[in-house]
Amino acid sequence: MSHALPPHKPFELTPERLKEYVVQYATNPIYLDNEEWENDDNPYRRQLRPQVLPYLDFSRVLPRSEILHYEGLAAQRILAAIYESDLMFLPKAGLKDKWDDFKQYYSPSNRALGEIIRPSLEKFAFGFLDQEVEVSGKWTKAELETYLRALEDRDLTQPTLSEIAIEKSTDPVRAAKTWLIQFAPDFLSEASPMLRNVLGYYGPAQSEWFKIIIDEYGYGVHKTKHSHLFERTLESVGLRSDVHHYWQYYLNSSLMVNNYFHYLGKNHELFFRYIGALYYTETALVDFCRRAAELLTKVFGPDVDVEYFTEHIGIDVHHGRMALEKLILPLVEEHGEVIIPEIVRGFEEFQIISDIADRDFADQIAWMDSGPANKELHAPVWEAISSGRVTPPVANIVEPYRELSNTHCHDGDELCHIVSGTMKFVAGFESHQILEAGEGTVINRNRLHGAIIESEECVYEIHSVGDYRACLS
């Protein structure tokens, strides 16, 4: 007697179920708002602002033009929390009072919920790359090699927008610290996404892949492990090196850069994209690290520890070459031209993401630097609103002493107007303005910020002006 099998149905979540699971995931106590700006040696605490999640729609592909909107930031924060539950983290000063958080973060419930929502969030956050990168024509190994080697002729010595922003900043030390903070999610668990491709069996390429990891892990000598070199960089400029200490100061795109490699490493069907992206990043890092070491020394003086960067100048020459000659070309030889479009995609996609991150960071530095100017802009914009010349939607808010709005961003410009009390408006790391009754600030779209109330109570209004320039006349 035979039993008819039901037809196979791929896993899919309806938008309603997705929202339900996202909220269920993020209401875990370890993901609730923090009462402080920084996490204190607790790698399990990641502020996901679950209170806002019921209003967000992750059941679509976020277009390129909206990639820095709040929904993008929210998705990248959740994805970072999900990916990293595959990684092992322990607090520097011992588990002690963090035992419950440790159990929560690695709990079957947290991991299962994360896995259920991960594919949808990945599609939401990285789906735009399907539109951005398109491979066509007949690629053979020879053309691929020519195309990839053309990177060697590209001038990668020019400073990025981020580096220019730091140099030109009104506060280069703060800007450079903010820069180092953006690298922390990646560098403190450096090469962890890569290790996702160490498991399994896939022939000689696997051992070549592993050789790169051996360098990243400092040959088993802790003080040469790349992540440890970076801890020393952080500490040498007075920054903390505990994992996700500065979670609230990570930009959307900094998380995106880091999550991209987890996304490729977690989904093994994207293995070939990974090797394309790996080739680009290892090759480009050589010049990048040379410039970074110089810039950091210029900004902080000779006491900054830049060995992390100088080490990479030396070793990534090899890693770029190894990625091409020991991974990419032998794999094409072995598996044929079918894998080439994926390699090309990874190579291009990571450049697009790096570009987004470069601009996002430069914009954030400009935003932090214009704190005083944005405070002054309150007056003319408020005049346009109070005179009735413009009538944007308004939210009236009352908050008690020490209420901390965890960092976030808005999709359009806003005007914050203080009716009574005192607010400390925070535009980024070590960057704030004190706003008293009658004062306020323009808040630029997509710019990370938060606030804390410094009086018994604070009554304030948020006017969603869209584009503040339209209020000036």
Binding site: E132, V133, E134, V135, S136, G137, K138, E143, T146, Y147
Partner: protein, 111 residues
């Protein structure tokens, strides 16, 4: 084989190299690098339209038709990234290239 990056549309949307010219075509059947010169008598394929109801591009000069599915699969290897394209072009005896503008027909400029 020169690796050339050029614009998807507008200024610099054409690579001229050793008597050949290449543009990036975005059609309802897919996108690909198109040789702008018709193999017949050099007609402007950048101005070609589709044969009604078929995926064949028709040269505006003497109506020779060619399949685009073939051009997508077997054509010049290329990748579009945002509004730029990078192509690995066939060798033209070491000739240098210049970027210029060519107008595109409606059928070849669908986003």
């Amino acid at each position: 084989m020169p690796v050339v990056t050029f614009a998807v549309e507008g200024r610099d949307n054409c690579v001229a190299i050793g008597g050949s010219a290449y543009v990036y075509a975005r059609t309802e059947h897919g996108s690909f690098v198109l040789s702008a010169n018709c193999p017949h008598r050099g007609g402007p394929l950048n101005l070609a339209e589709f044969e009604p109801g078929r995926s064949r591009l028709v040269c505006p000069w003497h109506d020779r038709a060619a399949s685009v599915t073939k051009a997508i699969k077997a054509g010049v290897p290329a990748v579009r990234h945002g509004d730029r394209v990078t192509a690995v072009l066939p060798d033209h005896d070491g000739a240098g290239y210049t970027l210029e503008h060519r107008p595109m027909s409606g059928a070849l400029a669908r986003c």
